[in-house]
Symmetry: C2
Subunit: 191 residues, 2 copies
């Protein structure tokens, strides 16, 4: 599926995924959902199930790129390690298929999708729905977060070019990226 | 390789492994070493390399059981997440092959190998060398730690039985396990 980006919001109980591709100037949500592992299973079995599901997903979607949410260090350490393990499986599964993988922090996703890094989760989800032409934010939230990652990655590719052009025109500067994001989003909203 | 236990001391730069099997009442170190990934590669590539190496190791050794060191929560969070990712790959790789995996904390390993949970790293390594009939502690330390995990798992199986017998004979109590470990080690040392 040429041009499709797979976003992954890693987690052991719920691992969100969202596939978005470009169609001209539109963003099309191809698929989204959540991979779950039963909490009553032991950790190794849960990780094995998740690894199998991630392999199946990658083989089915064959994304051009994968975007994975970066694990935060400031959260509860036990949770961070479980999320880190899930994230590690996703990164390894993509890289084993030679699919380029990018890590984005939650703030980078918020910035790319809404134009500011301190946006509320609800704003991000509404904006994702709007950009993807959905009537309502996708559910569960893990799926919406994964779609936001895919959208972020598609924007980032565009923004890098836009920021480069702005810099070349002398209107870039240290906030060139942020301005380019805002400009790109304004254009998109007014389409 | 019937009866062989594979110990894994997870890490991204250096992932120690050690294979130990029983031969009568002796412990035989079958193989040990370190899987490395180059720090100059990106995280996804490093994880993919490690996942490939772990798969190869498991397919070659075909252990009856795998023992993986539990990631500590109190260490530096960034390191903990990298180690957690490596650990997650090891747990998933074993469970995907339906090989039983057990997690041991560093203190459990120290207790099983030396008889007390607060042992120094050097004491653990000397004891591992002695139990495995090696002239000197194996190097690098990650390999020695992995052998210690395998030894710990082999002891744990034996100790569970011994502690059960002690409990049944009314000599167990809350410290039954610790006493059984000490008794088993004393027997081993006097062989």
């Amino acid at each position: 599926m040429f041009d499709a980006v797979l976003g992954i919001d890693p987690g052991l109980s719920r691992c969100g995924y969202g596939v978005v591709r470009r169609a001209g100037s539109s963003l099309v949500p191809v698929a989204f959902g959540v991979l779950r592992t039963p909490p009553e299973l032991d950790l190794p079995e849960r990780l094995a199930l998740l690894a199998d599901d991630l392999d199946d997903l990658l083989d089915e979607v064959r994304p051009a790129a994968v975007a994975v949410e970066r694990v935060l260090f400031q959260v509860n350490a036990r949770t961070a390690i479980a999320v880190g393990m899930a994230s590690g499986l996703a990164l390894a599964a993509a890289a084993r298929r030679s699919i380029p993988v990018t890590h984005y922090s939650p703030n980078e996703v918020k910035l790319a999708v809404t134009g500011h890094g301190g946006a509320e989760k609800g704003q991000v989800q509404s904006m994702v729905a709007r950009l993807c032409g959905l009537d309502a934010p996708p559910k569960p939230p893990d799926a919406a977060d994964a779609l936001a990652l895919a959208v972020c990655h598609l924007w980032a590719a565009r923004i890098t070019t836009a920021a480069g052009a702005a810099d070349a025109a002398g209107v870039g500067g240290p906030d060139g990226l942020g301005r380019a994001v805002a400009a790109a989003l304004a254009r998109e909203a007014n389409r």
